[in-house]
């Protein structure tokens, strides 16, 4: 609850900056839809300072909490090799020692101009993933301060007269849960014809059987929760046979049998 309390001023700040707490409505083709309002530096810095101070106090208080450590350490272990094999992304991968982060691997927006550290932990258990997320909070604060200091003046949007139909685009961005890819095929009438998202939860959820193997049922919710799954971003698993072009959907039993055959 304390973490939720600390988070709330950032919601009020975004309401001031963009007009809404969550759906900022800023992204527009060519840039952002509106500039930040007057006096934004004076509003952002105190909130960021306060969050940093309070978050440090919380982290300091819970770090030696043995009930938390008993619950999180040693449970939901995803080894380095398994993380690579399942192609997990985001904090799930960084908690198992894989240093992958779209912001540093293929920088977009202004990430190439700010300095930050890719937080990696070696444990692979729930504790490691939690620590990755906590450290990333402080890295984000560092990025915000640098961006504020370096903010240039100028137009916020490039004028795009018309968008031709039949063009493809693909982008790779770091979301809180990992790498997210968007594919767009433009259509007529300045609207997209096809749009496909590969959300990070989709590969992350594939590692759940490996995560839960050997654990008790009580550890299951926290292990799945440590991946921070966004179930809205998942779909069924479909397999396409390249030779015949036929696709089929795997049932739960078949998936389980495949996993047992591969991992014993």
């Amino acid at each position: 609850m304390q973490a939720w309390r600390i988070r709330e001023p950032s919601m009020w700040l975004t309401e001031f900056l963009t007009g809404n707490r969550k759906t900022y409505g800023m992204n527009l083709i060519g840039g952002v839809s509106r500039d930040l309002p007057e006096g934004y530096q004076a509003r952002i810095l105190p909130v960021v300072d306060r969050i940093e101070k309070e978050a440090t106090a919380v982290v300091d208080a819970i770090l030696e909490d043995s009930s938390l450590k008993l619950r999180l350490q040693g449970s939901g272990v995803l080894s380095h090799e398994a993380a690579k094999a399942f192609c997990v992304v985001g904090p799930t991968a960084r908690g198992s020692g894989l240093a992958i982060d779209s912001r540093s691997d293929h920088p977009y927006a202004a990430y190439g101009e700010v300095d930050f550290e890719v937080c990696v932990e070696q444990g692979g258990d729930n504790w490691a993933r939690t620590m990755v997320r906590i450290r990333e909070l402080f890295q984000s604060i560092k990025i915000v301060r640098q961006a504020l200091a370096k903010m240039p003046d100028g137009p916020v949007r490039a004028e795009i007269k018309s968008i031709p139909a039949g063009r493809e685009g693909i982008s790779s961005v770091e979301a809180p849960r990992g790498e997210v890819h968007h594919y767009v095929l433009t259509g007529s009438g300045q609207r997209p014809y096809r749009w496909r998202v590969r959300a990070p939860t989709y590969p992350n959820l594939q590692c759940v059987p490996a995560l839960l193997e050997g654990m008790t049922i009580a550890d299951a919710p926290i292990s799945i929760g440590s991946l921070d799954p966004c179930f809205s971003c998942t779909e069924r698993v479909a397999v396409v046979d390249r030779k015949t072009g036929l696709s089929r959907i795997y049932t739960q039993d078949e998936l389980l049998r495949q996993y047992q055959a591969r991992f014993g």
């Binding site: 309390r5 709330e8 707490r21 966004c230 809205s232």
Partner: protein
């Protein structure tokens, strides 16, 4: 007599069961925000409950996708009477951006009898509190349709 007692009790503190029928989770996080210290719905006795059979109200987010439609109907049957169905967000209110999609049912009104709609994308936690209070009959409605005709 017992009906009046039930009505009186019902207004006091409802237990809500939250259902996500395919939403982007924005409304779900705002519902969770209502439980956080700043908005604290638990001081009114409203709490999130883990099973629909103990619930008084269904808080539904998301445009109802085809896959979830049957489950939402079963959940609605599992909630005992008297019950409230509260649609949170623009998606269940009118379908949101997905109003004409092949994968959704175009809003909760097409699937269940809804008692109150709370529009917003996502609605502020204050708006959710206001909507629940209006569903319980504690506050009046503030919106009405507007028409303008040029002479």
């Amino acid at each position: 007599m017992s009906n009046r007692l039930l009505d009186w009790c019902f207004k006091k503190s409802i237990w809500v069961y939250h259902v996500n029928t395919g939403s982007c989770n924005g409304c779900d996080i705002e519902i969770l925000d209502v439980l956080t210290p700043y908005y604290d719905c638990e001081r009114f006795g409203i709490k999130l409950i883990h099973t629909p059979r103990h619930a008084d109200a269904l808080l539904v987010t998301g445009p109802v996708t085809r896959q979830v439609r049957e489950r939402v109907l079963r959940l609605h049957q599992a909630v005992p009477d008297p019950k409230l169905v509260i649609a949170v967000g623009s998606c269940p209110t009118g379908g949101g951006i997905w109003h004409d999609s092949y994968a959704t049912c175009g809003g909760l009104g097409n699937v269940l009898p809804v008692d109150i709609y709370i529009p917003g994308c996502p609605p502020r936690p204050e708006a959710i509190l206001y909507g629940v209070a209006q569903a319980l009959g504690l506050v009046p409605k503030h919106v009405e349709a507007r028409t303008y005709v040029e002479e």
